[in-house]
């Protein structure tokens, strides 16, 4: 095959990897927005806390001499999900719920405050320098002509795809089939009516924060291992990117968040392929501006209609 083709193929693979994690984080933005119409700007920080939890768990397990890779990985995922969900729930309970029913701007400002608070809290607790995630998984498969260009898919990338696929399938089944998932959809369509059916909508809202945080934590573990370094500021950029993905796909729409994440990841990777890689953020956020200008409802979003 031609060199450029192989190169593009490689970037597609990288882009789909990053895109899957954007999609995982974007779910949290989109589900919360879908129900209470607010952007939870502290969501990126919950993702970061997930990464830190995984880091501590992995270091702890390795120090204790637990060497089995599947066990370490699984425990890191489980603890990260539990801790991040707790934070997600606590943020909603403490910072957002008491303000519900007020003007829309107020929870938005609180969310930014929560984001700053959590970032600095981790900075104080864990230090602000970069921490090196232990390399758990290395190697991969390579194909293509070694003389021209070798395309590689690392095991880590395959794990990211696999875990994302499992998490998204579980989410889709939960939302479409389960009783609580149905209640989530009902809340997204008409919160007040759902309340009038005797359903405690505060609990459903808390549940969406927990689900969003859990998926962000999964992304945090995966990306932490993929990039290899973590610091207290990673939540900011990851959060912005995932927010962009959510808007791109249509905020409020779960399939939209999945699609938006993948498109954003691939766009970034392809930009990095042909331009200096610093431009990838420029392109990502230009995409956000263009979407907001020409299709504010996103690719799969529905325009907000006044209910009659």
């Amino acid at each position: 095959m031609h060199e450029t083709t192989l190169y593009v193929l490689q970037q597609l693979i990288n882009g789909l990897t990053i895109g899957s994690t954007y999609a995982l984080i974007a779910i949290g933005y989109t589900m919360v927005y879908g129900i209470i119409g607010m952007i939870n700007f502290a969501h990126g920080e919950v993702y970061m806390i997930g990464t830190y939890t995984a880091f501590i768990t992995i270091i702890g397990l390795l120090t204790m001499g637990v060497g089995s890779l599947p066990i370490v990985l699984l425990l890191a995922l489980i603890t990260a999900v539990i801790i991040a969900s707790t934070y997600g729930y606590a943020v909603e309970r403490v910072a957002y719920r008491p303000l519900r029913g007020g003007p829309r701007l107020i929870p938005l400002i609180t969310a930014i405050g929560m984001s700053i608070f959590l970032q600095n809290y981790i900075r104080l607790a864990q230090g602000s320098r970069d921490l090196a995630m232990p390399v758990l998984i290395s190697g991969g498969i390579e194909f293509g002509d070694p003389a021209v260009f070798e395309v590689s898919i690392s095991w880590m990338q395959l794990i990211i795809w696999g875990v994302t696929l499992v998490a998204m399938t579980a989410l889709a089944l939960f939302i479409s089939r389960s009783r609580l998932g149905r209640a989530c959809r009902a809340c997204a369509q008409d919160l007040k009516m759902t309340n009038l059916l005797g359903i405690d909508t505060n609990r459903i809202i808390a549940l969406t924060f927990i689900i969003g945080a859990a998926l962000a934590a999964v992304a945090g573990v995966l990306l932490g291992l993929y990039y290899g370094t973590i610091n207290p500021y990673i939540g900011f950029m990851a959060g912005l990117k995932a927010f962009t993905a959510a808007v791109l796909g249509g905020i409020g729409s779960i399939p939209g968040a999945m699609l938006g994440g993948l498109i954003l990841g691939v766009t970034e990777a392809l930009t990095a392929a042909f331009f200096p890689s610093e431009y990838k953020d420029v392109v990502a956020f230009s995409l956000l501006v263009l979407i907001l200008l020409f299709r504010p409802t996103g690719l799969l979003g529905k325009p907000e209609v006044e209910k009659v």
Binding site: R182, R185, A186, K192, N195, L196, L197, G198, I199, V308
Partner: protein, 233 residues
């Protein structure tokens, strides 16, 4: 069964209900009529706790409910078909109905489902169709069916005839009478005063947030001032 005692409700500084007292008795159809903006919907929503009554007492089965959250009030055995139906347009008929029985057990829900589908055979035909794709009359049937799924003893209906064709209105009112015969108490808010008073056992007239008159359905139907104001002379 339901008793309101001197209930006042405000929207911000604007008082929407002024010391409203009324009573719904077990097994009857009680109707509340009044012009646009009289506060009929506010009264109904105040019973549901949203908005909350600023003063006064609301008791259901003798127990005060005005302090409970909306979700808790709705679990006491009353259900509401709100103004504008508010069905979940993106969900199927089946899903809409099961949202109504969310806090009931699976077996209770399936028994009640059979009952609702017998009352509204049309819903059986549309069972897997999305609510938003149905006609207004079908949506109204769905909204009533959804409310019935929680096996309420008191059904609150807010303008069920609004925007529907006369023949559909006729059907809806027949269903309401049938529900009463089955033992469900009905509190019916209507602008369609003529039809509402005809099926009602008793009625109240609401004007500018105050109850100005009450009596049996027949008595109100024959009252001169009611005829003039609400029945076109």
């Amino acid at each position: 069964m339901l008793k309101l005692d001197n209930v006042s409700t405000f929207y911000g500084k604007i008082q929407a209900l002024h010391n409203v007292s009324l009573e719904v008795n077990q097994g009857e159809i009680l109707t509340l009529i009044g012009a646009n903006g009289a506060g009929k919907t506010t009264l109904m929503m105040t019973i549901c706790g949203d908005p909350r009554a600023q003063s006064g007492h609301i008791a259901f089965d003798g127990r005060p409910i005005q302090q409970l959250s909306t979700a808790d009030i709705m679990r006491q055995g009353l259900a509401v078909v709100p103004e504008g139906r508010r069905i979940f347009a993106g969900m199927t008929v089946e899903e809409n109905l099961f949202m109504g029985s969310f806090f009931r057990s699976r077996s209770e829900a399936s028994v009640q489902l059979d009952h609702v589908l017998t009352l509204f055979p049309r819903l059986r035909e549309r069972f897997h169709q999305r609510g938003g794709t149905m006609s207004g009359g079908e949506q109204q049937m769905l909204a009533i069916g959804r409310a019935l799924m929680s096996q309420p003893r008191l059904l609150l209906l807010d303008e069920p005839s609004l925007g529907l064709a006369p023949i559909i209105i006729q059907q809806i009112f027949e269903i309401i009478e049938r529900l009463r015969d089955e033992g469900v108490t009905v509190f019916l808010v209507e602008q369609n005063a003529h039809q509402a008073l005809r099926i009602a056992d008793r009625g109240y007239v609401l004007e500018n947030g105050r109850i100005v008159m009450s009596g049996s359905g027949d008595a109100l139907l024959n009252d001169d001032s009611v005829r003039k104001a609400y029945l076109g002379g």
